[in-house]
Symmetry: D2
Subunit: 339 residues, 4 copies
Amino acid sequence: MKKRVGVGIIGSGRIGRIHAENLCRHISGGHVVGIADAVPEFAEQCAEACGILQVFPDHQALLGHPAIDAVIICSSTDTHAAMICDAAAAGKHIFCEKPVALDIQAIDKALEAVAAAGVRLQVGFQRRFDSSFRRAYEAISAGEIGDCHILRITSRDPQPPPIEYIRKSGGIFLDMTIHDFDMARFLVQDEVEEIQAFGDVLIDPAIGDAGDNDTAVCVLKFRRGAFGIIDNSRKSAYGYDQRVEVFGSRGMISVGNKVPNDAVVSDDRGVHHPLPLHFFLERYQDAYREEMQSFLDAVLCDKEPEVTGLDGRAPVLMAHAAMRSLAEKRPVRLSEIAF
Amino acid sequence: MKKRVGVGIIGSGRIGRIHAENLCRHISGGHVVGIADAVPEFAEQCAEACGILQVFPDHQALLGHPAIDAVIICSSTDTHAAMICDAAAAGKHIFCEKPVALDIQAIDKALEAVAAAGVRLQVGFQRRFDSSFRRAYEAISAGEIGDCHILRITSRDPQPPPIEYIRKSGGIFLDMTIHDFDMARFLVQDEVEEIQAFGDVLIDPAIGDAGDNDTAVCVLKFRRGAFGIIDNSRKSAYGYDQRVEVFGSRGMISVGNKVPNDAVVSDDRGVHHPLPLHFFLERYQDAYREEMQSFLDAVLCDKEPEVTGLDGRAPVLMAHAAMRSLAEKRPVRLSEIAF
Amino acid sequence: MKKRVGVGIIGSGRIGRIHAENLCRHISGGHVVGIADAVPEFAEQCAEACGILQVFPDHQALLGHPAIDAVIICSSTDTHAAMICDAAAAGKHIFCEKPVALDIQAIDKALEAVAAAGVRLQVGFQRRFDSSFRRAYEAISAGEIGDCHILRITSRDPQPPPIEYIRKSGGIFLDMTIHDFDMARFLVQDEVEEIQAFGDVLIDPAIGDAGDNDTAVCVLKFRRGAFGIIDNSRKSAYGYDQRVEVFGSRGMISVGNKVPNDAVVSDDRGVHHPLPLHFFLERYQDAYREEMQSFLDAVLCDKEPEVTGLDGRAPVLMAHAAMRSLAEKRPVRLSEIAF
Amino acid sequence: MKKRVGVGIIGSGRIGRIHAENLCRHISGGHVVGIADAVPEFAEQCAEACGILQVFPDHQALLGHPAIDAVIICSSTDTHAAMICDAAAAGKHIFCEKPVALDIQAIDKALEAVAAAGVRLQVGFQRRFDSSFRRAYEAISAGEIGDCHILRITSRDPQPPPIEYIRKSGGIFLDMTIHDFDMARFLVQDEVEEIQAFGDVLIDPAIGDAGDNDTAVCVLKFRRGAFGIIDNSRKSAYGYDQRVEVFGSRGMISVGNKVPNDAVVSDDRGVHHPLPLHFFLERYQDAYREEMQSFLDAVLCDKEPEVTGLDGRAPVLMAHAAMRSLAEKRPVRLSEIAF
């Protein structure tokens, strides 16, 4: 077993910067060899901020460096699948941000490249590494609540993204609900067979004009019988709302929001608890570190990552089923989309 | 304004007994003149237990008594509509347990009789009088959470009823979800346009053999755009689960379960809070008193009751839409069922 | 065993009225024969409001009525001890509001009269019948938290009483902390040996001018070693604060405040829970009924009441120890006051 | 303003290691030049684990290094005061673990040395940097709860330390309550005038044999009138209990325990919340980083640290007053100990 993984980072946007900082400062077992970005100045800024010694002119140059064992793909979504193919061809282990791609064929091609190269691939569903969701997963695995009957996921953002972003996002199911689709599979530990989706524009007509919805509900049916209910909103007045509840034959596990402190004020108007942590960067700060640590550990120990390529594929399939269900106003089986 | 309402009680089963005790002991403004039951011995037992002086041989005898201003109909569901018609014909004000009837035509006929007689009718949706749901209603009315976007109702029983009961119940939507359908309308303060229902047998195959489901999910679409999600289970290991959450443009209001005490034990295994109150008799003990007080107040003050005949009709319509949706696996508009 | 206890009520002030209503409406096993008050018109008003048939000109007339088995003494504190003696002499069972008297000699004389007459005496420490404190008592009795090490009682009123009341109250320890002294003995299930008291005027100088404190802290030392800490304030901005926590060798039990509903509002300023129930009439509404039911049950079953005469004596002794401790700025043993 | 502070670490025990890791990995603005320890092998191990390049043979060698601007003193308590004097003489800014010394004269001498040298000194009361206590401090500063009337601090350890440690610790007040004394001053933002202490051996007789108590209660009286109550136990079955509550004229702020996750399990036995984080290393993990960041910021910006030398002195004075109070069974004014 190697002692440290040589890491190359591809992409230095918001999420790339987070992974870079975590790899450089908070995580052990890795060593950032260098970074590349489609806009080289961004890579340089990130390198300077994090103390990364080398900036590559492009991802191919990075992939050619022998000290790099693994790459962290944080470039724009439309490049993920091709980057995976290139990295696999270069024999590098791969951590790729979600989604792997917006269409299933591109994902399948990337997964084939990974399999052919025999490298490791982990997909960036960081919520699985949140301590509360992890505790729920373990409680369910241990049978604490028996068989799963009803899953409820509430996932609401504090603010909608810019309309420009929404236009390119692939729609709420591929952009936002995809995390919840992953959480559903992760917690229920079963595959979804059928989805019925509902959606509307209740917050901002401009989102509707961009062809998307800002409020959505999905009902999932799992193979072993459980129902899953996901509700999404692009705008929650009280901030980022990320709760999950799994009801089973022997009990229930509920995950509440994470708060910045445990101080409660009582005055003549009420008893006031703090609002949830602002958004995903705050709520999942520790989870981002845990997922990257887990990836490095998988590479170092030569074991299957905790979030596999198939885990990256399934939620995209679910998003496509949800889109078709919404369009056709009927439940859609995942097998109608792809196998 | 009269000072006291003369009350006659029709039916002395479990719920009739509760109303009798409340009217005789805990509520002011009423005076129980007498009681009748299809099984006269039951009426006698109840009369003795509650100190009711008169037992009528049948409901017609009771309706003929001049000191009775109002009747409380707690007989079996299949008799409700006819009882309403008879009571209206006798010029009595009416409190009737839910559901008014299982079919819409019978309800419409009863409501017409009430209208023709000019008497008051209140339907027994006691949950509206629970202090927590009442607080939610008032917060929403006052605009505290803005426009409603997503309503979530969780309603789970501690134990399924006997199979014999299930066979006659009209099915989970008419028997159990009907309360949640009412709560949805009460809180969102809007009418439902369309329902999609899902159901399965996850708890007891005997329930499936009886032609019913033990686990169900309904997605409602309200006229002004809000989504409603109801999840039901016939068996919750941790007891009666009655929670509601309304998410709006300016905030959220959440109603948690009611507990028997506020004592929390911390030991080496965790921090343990009490289970919810066992079942509806405990959870809604105060609500049953409040609803009856409200009915007496409406009669005394000659004003519209807080839960009207139309409030009794709408959830039955919703249950029928849910049943059709489940059968046909598609969203069903309420206008397909009746107007 | 008799089926119903004939009850006479002495005193029709605020607390007398509560007991009268509870006995007339909410509690079984008793029958209110009549009522007396030093101001007969007050007795008449109460009798009319509650439907009590007989108003006695004075307590002696009431005590002479043969249908009265038990009396409820709710007259002013300075009359309690004499009333107990008279009632005992008349062979009536006695429920007496707290405190039995402000001085120990008067209490001892009353308890002797009760013992000599062989009647039952229950003292009005209603908090023992609150479902949460009762649960704590039972958990401690059952050994759930092991041996008691540290007891904390927080007891704060929403508003100070009128200065006129404070002048006659006997001081904060005899008027307010007395309930907490009782709670301490009840929960720890041991006797207090020594008390150190602290007090100050932090809320209203007029309270200081009246010779009292509005803020107080007592540290108790129990025989088996536990420490007890009581903090009191005459004015809590967020309302009536009645919490208890017992820390033991195996865990802790904490009793929180009772709230009017379980609805929580989240908005852009925070997550807002309801304030506690306003004051003792609301917080202990059910406890008042439970204590009276318990008294009637003790009389009917001829068994020792749950709160005895000695339970009425001990907190008065503790209050005197606290007063001396405060005056002399040192810990005072209860044996210094009386045996 | 310099861009980075050159740091030397003196002491590589448990707490030294934490500061070393934080300085090397999680905090910006500092650069660890080297480390020294009375046992050089310990310094070497720590240096290797954290990637510190230089190990000094002793603290004098470290103090002589020109690239070192500031030292972190984590050596044994009995050396703190002398180390401060040496570091001040060498012109280094100083972060010193608590307590500065067990006796006041030694502290005063160290503070004089610091003043004479014109260097910065921060004392290691990390709890002030916990996000919840910080929020409480800010709420109180902002007047959210008005004037402070009653402060309650509960501070209980999961397990007693080894008897050997207890023997050298200076006693529970200097070893454990000292943190709570600091918290009391920090939150109430006033000085304590008088202390009454209580203590007993309720957990382990061996602690009594070592001349110490394992359970203690202190009542503080602040200059502006507030009362403070601290309760300590060396052994809490449910883990590390670190709660604070400040009650004021306009409201209350309560700080609860920090938990490892927000997952709650409901089953047929209850509703189970997680236990608090295990002990101070877990509970104050972030606080340790914040305090060190704050120290570096103070050095970089040439401003007074947030926890000064006088903040290090006051709790030691309070501990001595508590010890005398316990011995003499009377309230002791701080002015009796020293000015």
